[in-house]
């Protein structure tokens, strides 16, 4: 796994963790927990995995978007009046 992929995965886990933390009914004294705590844990696990997947898709595709842009700029004669704005996330 490339360093870039590891960074993206780490960011996805971090972002999903933050989203999960904000979805946690801690501050309301668990007043909105369902009757089955086991089911809640299943929701958290599945939801977290799905969120990591969505974030990964986002980071990878955004990275490719910038790579495309950098490639296109590389192919064109430089008519711009500024430094290139391409790059990777």
């Amino acid at each position: 796994m490339s360093t870039q992929r590891i960074i993206r995965l780490a960011l996805s886990i971090l972002a999903s963790g933050a989203s999960l933390a904000l979805s946690w009914p801690y501050w309301r004294d668990f007043g909105y927990w369902g009757e089955s705590h086991t089911m809640w844990l299943v929701y958290f696990a599945v939801g977290f995995a799905l969120a990591v997947y969505v974030f990964s898709v986002f980071f990878n595709s955004l990275g490719t978007l910038f790579e495309h842009d950098a490639l296109e700029r590389g192919e064109q004669p430089d008519t711009k009046v500024s430094p290139s704005t391409g790059g990777t996330s």
């Binding site: 309301r28 955004l62 978007l65 910038f66 495309h68 711009k80 500024s82 430094p83 391409g86």
Partner: protein
Amino acid sequence: MIRIEYTTQRLSLRFFMVMLVLFFVQTGLGLLLSAQHIDPTLLAGTLSFNVIRTQHLNLAIFWVLSGFIGTILFVGPLLSKRELAAPWLIKFLFYALLAVVVWNLATQMLAQKGIAGWWMGQPLLQEGLEYLEAGRIADVIILIGFAILCYVVLRTFPPLSQWNEIHWGLGLGVLALTAVWVFGMFFVERLDLQEYFRWYVVHYWVEGVWEVIHISLVGFLLVLMFKADVKSVGYAVFWGISLVWLSGLLGNAHHYFWIGTPEFWQFWGSLFSALEPLPLIFCFWHIYLDAHEDGKPISNMPAFAFLLGSVVLEQVGAGILGFTMTFALTNVWSHGTWVTASHAHLALFGTFGMLGLSAAYYAVPIMRGAEHFDQRAGKLAFWLVFTGMLGLGFAFAIGGTIQIFVYRTLGLDWFGGDVAPAMQITKIMVPIFGFVFAVGVCLLVFDLLTLGHRRSVVSNVPATMMAVSGAPTRWEYWLTGWETGLWLLAMWVFGGIITLGLLSFNLSTVQQGSSIFPYMMAGVGYPGLLLVTLFFVWRFLSSLEARSRASFLPLPAAVASPAGAA
């Protein structure tokens, strides 16, 4: 600027004109609503607040849809390289739209008398479902209208094998627009179940279908304005749509929190609607990348300004403000308050309304043969509606924060006159900013209605080339990807502060009557977010305006920032 290539593109003009008229009326009703908030007895019983609010919401949907239809009809032939199919059906669609708008406006007034027109178990004249107040008769006509739009779009498009991502986006968009409308077309006696179906329409429209249509149209307008590569725009459109559905389908659960549905929705709704801003980042970055493809002057600045406004307010109003109130723990306080109104105004007008206005500013000059039209009124109108709407967002957000504390935390009585005095200052701010917005609306409606018909600056030189000469300031230098990333980061930092402020209502100190923390966070977060938004758009447009200066010089490489941070 391109010249009109297909005769049937002209059919879009009537939809743009209707859009402007409806927008004008809707703004007037908004001003009336803000006045009624200050004096609740104003026109009570004649034009009651609840009915006018309904008209205000319904007109918002109608004029946005008119803008969508106009834009789709204008770009359809360009996408398909042939004339629109069945022009007579489009003319019929136009009259059906007019009829349904007038019918709906008239039948909503029956709500004051409690007449719904029940027959065979269906409310035929009007029903009290928020956003879907049209009665069943109007519902059926709207469904036929959508079906006509689907037929025209799909018949106009080339064979499926030749579709690119923009074809797919618009094709799926108009089909889904029609499909989800059906969920709102039957009466369910159980209210919690009815709410599910209501949100299938409302949420899947604004955070599913409309967003898909929006991403596709923004993409194609960028192709037209900047000669951007359809392939690279298509890439952003494809992933944008994918992420809209990956996050938005389950994200609908943020509407199920407080309507009597099972608790597990609080987790799913919180988590997945928090992911909904992700696709909006694609739109945001693409408008930056395409606008900086080369250093050429922008030939139609009002069209681009409204397109930029649409994408930026989508990020700020829908993405960031939506994020702040999408968790069960923040939404439990914000739902049904002015905090939601702040998000709704910036998101709905900003994202979808400004797209229609951008498309109108792009298409109308071409159709009226006014290539070198005077752009000053359009640019001024943009700034008036943009700052007016940001101001409205601020007034609603601060008013909503006070409302949450006084009404939900202290538990003071809404009808006992305790809440309104606490919100009084913000209630006065709404019509003030609303007036600024309304002046902008009057100006842009006048400008677009008369564009090409009145005497305006016509010359052989594009209007943008007539900019002020002189050396550009630092504020006008080329906008790098790095700087754009910093602006975006600043917006999200303030969004985070607002989120923490709403979360703080759960703290025991706040529950016991201390407003310091939520008020401080809202006092920093909302002005910070809205000012950063204002300055970013100013900075973006200034850097583009500077391109038309003959003396424009690039930022020296030695001090140029690193590029392309995401």
